[in-house]
């Protein structure tokens, strides 16, 4: 089984990625990178990462979230985060990235947050 499974669904022009597994150095980080690249290539620039199923992330995975954020911004899009576990919230606090990402606990609120 893959380290990270990513399921994709649409809510209007917003693409929601339901992520399940680990975002760590190697396979998990690469899976996220490839998915974001593909979506941007398809012109999908409003992306919501649902991290409810991500039980583990390391510094490489955090770096991949940052890379995804900057890649989407560069294309004039928006990337937001949904349903962080306490552990991931703690890591984003340690890295001061909670000041960078828009983070939501409700999908409805997150979808309303897009321009």
């Amino acid at each position: 089984m893959a380290e990270l499974n990513i399921s994709e669904r649409q809510a209007g022009d917003i693409t929601i990625l339901d992520m399940d597994g680990k975002v760590t150095i190697g396979e998990g980080s690469v899976a996220l990178r490839n998915t974001i690249r593909r979506l941007l290539g398809e012109g999908k620039k409003k992306i919501l990462l649902n991290l409810a199923g991500v039980g583990y992330i390391d510094s490489s995975g955090i770096g991949e979230l940052v890379s995804s954020f900057t890649a989407v911004n560069k294309e004039g899009g928006q990337l937001k985060l949904l349903n962080l576990t306490q552990k991931i919230q703690d890591l984003l606090a340690i890295t001061k990235l909670l000041t960078v990402f828009d983070v939501y606990e409700s999908e409805g609120d997150a979808l309303s947050g897009y321009n």
Partner: protein
């Protein structure tokens, strides 16, 4: 048991990160560390071994990563050595500086310091970096 030692010698593969973390968890659990400590040790261990494999040994499979766990009275001491060119930890940019927040790399050392009470880096006299970290009881 206080004084118990376990040594590992792993290849410079990303798979070694999982193996080292698993061995660290088993060693720590057997020596009485609680779930919170196990989670912290796992996190720091993964970062340290990933650094050794990727940045130290540069994924050169001919170079090994040497790991020693020691169960001390004060806590679990873990030493990780790579065979790379070494580095000066003081020259690693602070990833929490606003100018570095959007950089993709450079947070591993921050995590190691956040999850272990003691972490120090040194250059081995015959080459490579040695990181010694301790999770206190």
């Amino acid at each position: 048991m206080i004084g118990e030692i376990k040594e590992l010698n792993l290849p410079s593969l990303l798979e070694s990160v999982d193996q080292a973390a698993s061995e660290a968890e088993n060693f720590a659990r057997q020596n009485g560390f609680d779930d919170s400590a196990l989670s912290a040790i796992d996190m720091a261990m993964r970062e340290a071994v990933a650094n050794a494999v990727k940045h130290g040994n540069k994924l050169d499979e001919s170079k090994r990563v040497e790991i020693v766990f020691i169960n001390l009275q004060k806590g679990l001491e873990i030493t990780i050595r790579d065979f790379g060119k070494g580095f000066d930890v003081d020259e690693v940019p602070d990833p929490t500086n606003p100018e570095n927040l959007l950089k993709a790399n450079g947070r591993g050392i921050l995590f190691m310091r956040a999850f272990m009470e003691e972490v120090e880096w040194s250059n081995h006299e015959t080459g490579g970096t040695v990181v010694k970290m301790c999770k206190l009881r």
